[in-house]
C-alpha cells in the first residue's frame, strides 16, 4: 500500500501544484493529537484511491511558508488540489466517510 510521502516548502510546487493527478495534502504536526487520528485514515484512503489521487503530508512546523501561504491556522487541515488549484478543504478531524465525499467531489 502506498504511504503518503512527505512534501516540503521546496518540493510543494513540483509534487502538488504540478501534479497530473488530484492531490490531497495532509497538513499536520507531531504535537497535534487529532492529526495522529487523521493519519491512518489518509493512509487507508491512499490505498483505496491508488492511481487516481496522490496523497502527501506536510509538516507545518518545518514548512511554515506553505502553511502560511494557504492560511493554515488549524490542524489537521486537508487541502485538495486539482491542476494546481485549491478546490476543497477539510479543517479538523472528520470521519472517513466525510473525507471520501470530498475526494469523490474532486474526482467528479
Amino acid at each position: 500500500m502506498p504511504k503518503p510521502a512527505e512534501v516540503t516548502d521546496a518540493t510543494f510546487e513540483d509534487e502538488v501544484l504540478k501534479s497530473g493527478e488530484p492531490v490531497l495534502v495532509d497538513f499536520w504536526a507531531p504535537w497535534c493529537g487529532p492529526c495522529r487520528m487523521v493519519a491512518p485514515l489518509v493512509e487507508e484512503l491512499a490505498g483505496e484511491y491508488d492511481g487516481k489521487v496522490k496523497f502527501v503530508k506536510l509538516n507545518t512546523d518545518d514548512n511554515m511558508q506553505t502553511a502560511a501561504r494557504y492560511g493554515i491556522r488549524s490542524i489537521p487541515t486537508l487541502l485538495m488540489f486539482r491542476g494546481g488549484e485549491l478546490v476543497d478543504q477539510i479543517i479538523g478531524f472528520r470521519p472517513k466517510g466525510d473525507l471520501k465525499r470530498t475526494i469523490e467531489k474532486a474526482l467528479a
Binding site: 504536526a29 504535537w31 497535534c32 493529537g33 487529532p34 492529526c35 495522529r36 487520528m37 507545518t60 512546523d61 502553511a67 492560511g71 493554515i72 491556522r73 488549524s74 490542524i75 489537521p76 487541515t77 479543517i91 479538523g92 478531524f93 470521519p95 472517513k96 466517510g97
Partner: protein
C-alpha cells in the same frame, strides 16, 4: 444495512467508554464500542493530564491510546460510526448508526460532552481561521501574536497557559469577576507574565474577513462596548452532554444530562449512562473511568441475572 449482534454496545470512546469496554471485555462479554470522532474524546485534545492517579504526567492522546490498547487486548471491538438512535426491542436494544444496526442486551452510553460555542456573528465563518476550540491543535500558528481566550474554567486556564508558549500576549476574557478554574491552574495563570485578564466581559462578535483580526467586547458591568485586536480566539465556555440521540427515552436535567442511579442505571433495564453525559458527573478522567467501570459491572450483573448467562 448490516445487523450486528453483541452482548454489550458502548456508545462513546472517551475514558468512561474505554473503562467500560475494558471491564466488559474482561468479563468475556462480546462488546463493541462505537466512536463518532476521536478515541479519547475531550482528553485527546488535552496536552497534559496530570491528575490521573499513578501517572504523574501524560499526553491526553497517549493516555487514551493506552486505554484503548488495553481494552482491545482483552477483545473489545471498536467501530467508528456516529450513533443516530436507540430503541427498545422486547428485552433487547437496537442501536442505529448511519450504516449499521447493532442488537445488544445492554447499552452503556458514554457519549460525553461537546464544547459550547459562543453563538456570535463571525464565529462559524472564521472557525479554523483563527477561531479555535483546541489550543493544543492550533496555538502554534499564532507565534508572537496577541490572542484571546474566552472562559474562566479549568479548560480555559489550561489551554490559555499552553497558548503562552507561542503567543506574546494572551488575554483571558471572562464574563464573571473571578475564575472557576482549580487553585493550581489559577496560580499558574496569574503568575504567567504573558497572561492578562478582562473581567465581567463577553464577546459579542468575532471580527475579520478571511482570518480573525479582533473581537468586539461588551462589559456587563459598565455596559461599555469595545474592540480588541487579536489574531485568534480560543473558546472554552463549558460543554453540553451528547444525549440528543436518546430522544427522550430517559429523563434528563435542564442541561440535558441523563438521570441515573449510583450504578449508572437508567429507569430502563439494560440501559446505562456514565461519564459526562450523566447528571452530577465530576467531569474528570478518573471519575469518568470509574463511572464506566461501574456501568460495566452493573451491566454484567444484569446480563447474568436477567439472561441467566
Amino acid at each position: 444495512m448490516a445487523r450486528k449482534e453483541y452482548e454489550i454496545v458502548i456508545i462513546g470512546g472517551g475514558p468512561a467508554g474505554l473503562a467500560a469496554g475494558l471491564y466488559a471485555a474482561r468479563a468475556r462479554r462480546k462488546t463493541v464500542l462505537l466512536e463518532k470522532g476521536v478515541i479519547g474524546g475531550q482528553i485527546a485534545l488535552t496536552e497534559l493530564v496530570e491528575n490521573y492517579p499513578g501517572i504523574p504526567s501524560i499526553n491526553g492522546f497517549d493516555l487514551a491510546q493506552a486505554m484503548l490498547n488495553q481494552a482491545e487486548s482483552y477483545g473489545l471491538e471498536v467501530e467508528y460510526a456516529e450513533t443516530t438512535g436507540i430503541e427498545q426491542d422486547g428485552r433487547l436494544w437496537l442501536v442505529r448508526t448511519a450504516e449499521d444496526e447493532y442488537v445488544a442486551k445492554a447499552v452503556i452510553v458514554t457519549a460525553g460532552a461537546d464544547y459550547n460555542k459562543l453563538g456570535v456573528p463571525g464565529e462559524e465563518r472564521l472557525t479554523g481561521r483563527g477561531v479555535s476550540y483546541c489550543a493544543t491543535c492550533d496555538a502554534a500558528f499564532f507565534k508572537e501574536q496577541h490572542v484571546a481566550v474566552v472562559g474562566g474554567g479549568d479548560a480555559a486556564m489550561d489551554e490559555g497557559l499552553f497558548t503562552t508558549r507561542f503567543a506574546d500576549k494572551v488575554t483571558v476574557i471572562h464574563r464573571r469577576d473571578k475564575l472557576r478554574a482549580g487553585a493550581i491552574l489559577q496560580e499558574r495563570a496569574f503568575a504567567n507574565p504573558k497572561m492578562e485578564f478582562v473581567w465581567n466581559t463577553v464577546v459579542t462578535e468575532v471580527l475579520g474577513e478571511d482570518a480573525v483580526t479582533g473581537v468586539r467586547l461588551h462589559n456587563r458591568e459598565t455596559g461599555e462596548d469595545t474592540t480588541m485586536d487579536v489574531a485568534a480566539v480560543f473558546v472554552f465556555i463549558g460543554q453540553h452532554p451528547n444525549t440528543g440521540f436518546l430522544g427522550g427515552l430517559v429523563p434528563v436535567d435542564e442541561g440535558g444530562h441523563a438521570l441515573v442511579s449510583e450504578w449508572m442505571e437508567t429507569e430502563l433495564p439494560g440501559l446505562y449512562v456514565a461519564g459526562d453525559a450523566r447528571r452530577n458527573s465530576a467531569r474528570q478522567v478518573v471519575s469518568s473511568a470509574g463511572d464506566g467501570a461501574t456501568a460495566a459491572i452493573a451491566a454484567e450483573h444484569y446480563l447474568a441475572n436477567s439472561f441467566g448467562e
